[in-house]
Amino acid sequence: MEMTGGQVAELSGAEIVSRCLAEEQVEFLFGYPGGAVLPIYDELFKQDKVKHILVRHEQAGVHAADAYARATGKVGVALVTSGPGVTNAITGIATAHLDSVPMVILTGQVPTKAIGEDAFQEVDTVGITRPCVKHNILVKRAQDIAPAIKKAFHIAATGRPGPVVVDIPKDITLETTNYFYPKSVALRSYNLVTRGHSGQIRKAVELLLSAKRPMIYSGGGVIMGNASELLTQFVHALGYPCTNTLMGLGAFPATDPLFLGMLGMHGTYEANMAMQDCDVLLAIGARFDDRVIGNPEHFMSVNRKIIHVDVDPSSISKRVKVDIPIVGDVSEVLKSMLEHVAELSKGSGKSDVDAWWKQISVWREKDCSKFGVSDTVIKPQSVVKTFYELTKNEDVFVTSDVGQHQMWAAQYYKFDRPRRWINSGGLGTMGVGLPYAMGCQFAYPDALVACITGEASIQMCIQELSTAKQYNLPIKVITLNNRYLGMVRQWQEFFHGNRHSESYMDALPDFVKLAESYGHVGMRIENPSDVEGALKEAIALKDRLVFMDFITDQAENVYPMIPGGKGLSEMILDGSSD
């Protein structure tokens, strides 16, 4: 590793940590103190550059830092102590890893001499985090702290981003050493591809222009790669249909007529049918995962040519064999593709896709997202829809937990901008919603931040209502309370003989009183006619966290649905019949 630049000074390891974070212009450090990190906390006390946010559980700290990263594009940073601090953080780290979120997690470790002796609050942090990080580093000497942190930020933010853990034993934070912060870092074992192969790009554009039934499918990579605007230009230049994955929502404007909605297990009929029936598919910053294309054999049973653009070569031809692989930064590749489109479409022009759009409009007529209306019971979809209607002209950040409410939020909130929809797509971590909302609200204190959640998910990190009070975060919690683990209940209904094994939530707390006891505003909404009024009232309470407990239809299911192991065109469409 080569490091260059920086001024030399004699500092303690803990002070070095604090200086490094300031050098990286870390705005917020989400953390929780403990024995092994006390010297670092002492240094944080003495400075005013990095603002430390005290969470109530390390998992939530990592989630909040993760959301900060997703919402801003910067590296999210968390600090936890050794042992249980680390094990609590694991869920957060794995969540960030599966969704490729740039993060640096600093973990305290027992003193170097005690490592391996089963010391108090000791775990093998690099061992336990290895499978769920992009990289991790155990720092063994005080003089290695600054280079390790520099390396961590570099690795976290570049290429396919991901979380990097830096494990720092307590004794070296107390030692003094020469400090200088390297300005740059070069690793011989870590080389980044940026520009895609120009020949492949040209071939890809030629193929796209010759398509009769083209389809553009984009994922979270377009958002992480800050390529949403270029994608939108590209789709407009071609006039082709576009779909986004759950992680890619907002990369292409949901209200654009060329948008077919989300695809996948709970995607729209038109998006899934077009994916299956297209003759040329451009996949960009997406990875053909099981929740997106279902059964890969079914997907590959029809002939189509696939172009796949991704910064990570291992994402290409992993589940689905592709015809034109392009490894590169999505922005760079899209730029180059746009140039080729401009040049190539001058000549013979592109083929006529009117018939394809006609077919798509037939699929659209299915109106797969319609849902039943009721005067007596609140339909969960209507809550999301109403919230969208009320806030569509504002810059809103919507976070969710995991389950039915997450899918309804994805289906009925129309995201026109990237980094506004924050959820755990890959790991599917219940409990992220509230800490995600905190991370967004810290990043954008004046924005409207809503957490669409369920009564089960919200209880997995409910303690963070206390953090939200401490820092006056005016989050709007929209709980779709159906007294069930809804998605579990739905699968039990479909695939397990409707036996509701442990999917019922008995003995729920009174969420209104709970919210109030944390110092927030609580509301319970039981009537469909009260939904809009309650949402308006909550939004108007600009400086308060409002916890809305919507008592919703217990039997509602998420449609369309592709049963596990089935193909894209094998959707169950049953939205309006119940």
Partner: protein, 157 residues
């Protein structure tokens, strides 16, 4: 493959194989003439698609500097084996003879045993086992394969 000679690098590679369900038939590793680098040879079995994925996933590990699939071209591979065999009475001469046939070297001798060193491809070492009376084998220790490309094919930073 070449990887940083750092603690933890080996476990990253081993962990990748177990996490993604790839098999390791054998694995050998030691520092190179440049002490900052280790060279590792892994023998694994899989379809072309799986081997492609393994290569890509290995390349993704931050400690891995370079990976090549030796079987894509002509290459040499060698394993080292040490075998302790019973060598008494009339077997003593026979053991020496078999060892000579396989170009083994007897490294250690007692009045009851020989310890034979043998190098070769895995199949040659297997053939040596087959040539021996199983009863005569007291102990064996075997490295995995070490591989290198033929001719100008060089794996270097």
């Amino acid at each position: 493959m070449l990887l940083e000679n750092e603690s933890g690098a080996l476990s990253r590679v081993a962990g990748l194989f177990s996490a993604r369900g790839y098999n390791i038939e054998s694995l050998t590793v030691a520092p190179t003439e440049d002490p900052s680098l280790s060279r590792m040879t892994i023998v694994t079995i899989g379809s072309d698609e799986v081997l492609e994925q393994i290569t890509k996933q290995l390349n993704k590990l931050v400690d891995v500097v370079k990976v090549i699939d030796l079987t894509e071209g002509s290459h040499i591979e060698r394993e080292l084996m040490l075998v302790k065999v019973r060598a008494v009475a009339k077997d003593r001469e026979e053991m020496k003879r078999i060892s000579d046939i396989f170009r083994g070297r007897i490294l250690d001798v007692t009045d009851k045993t020989y310890t034979i060193e043998l190098t070769g491809t895995g199949s040659k070492l297997d053939a040596f086992f087959d040539a021996l009376d199983r009863e005569a084998i007291l102990e064996t220790v075997r490295t995995g394969a070490s591989g290198i490309g033929r001719g100008d094919r060089i794996l270097k930073v």
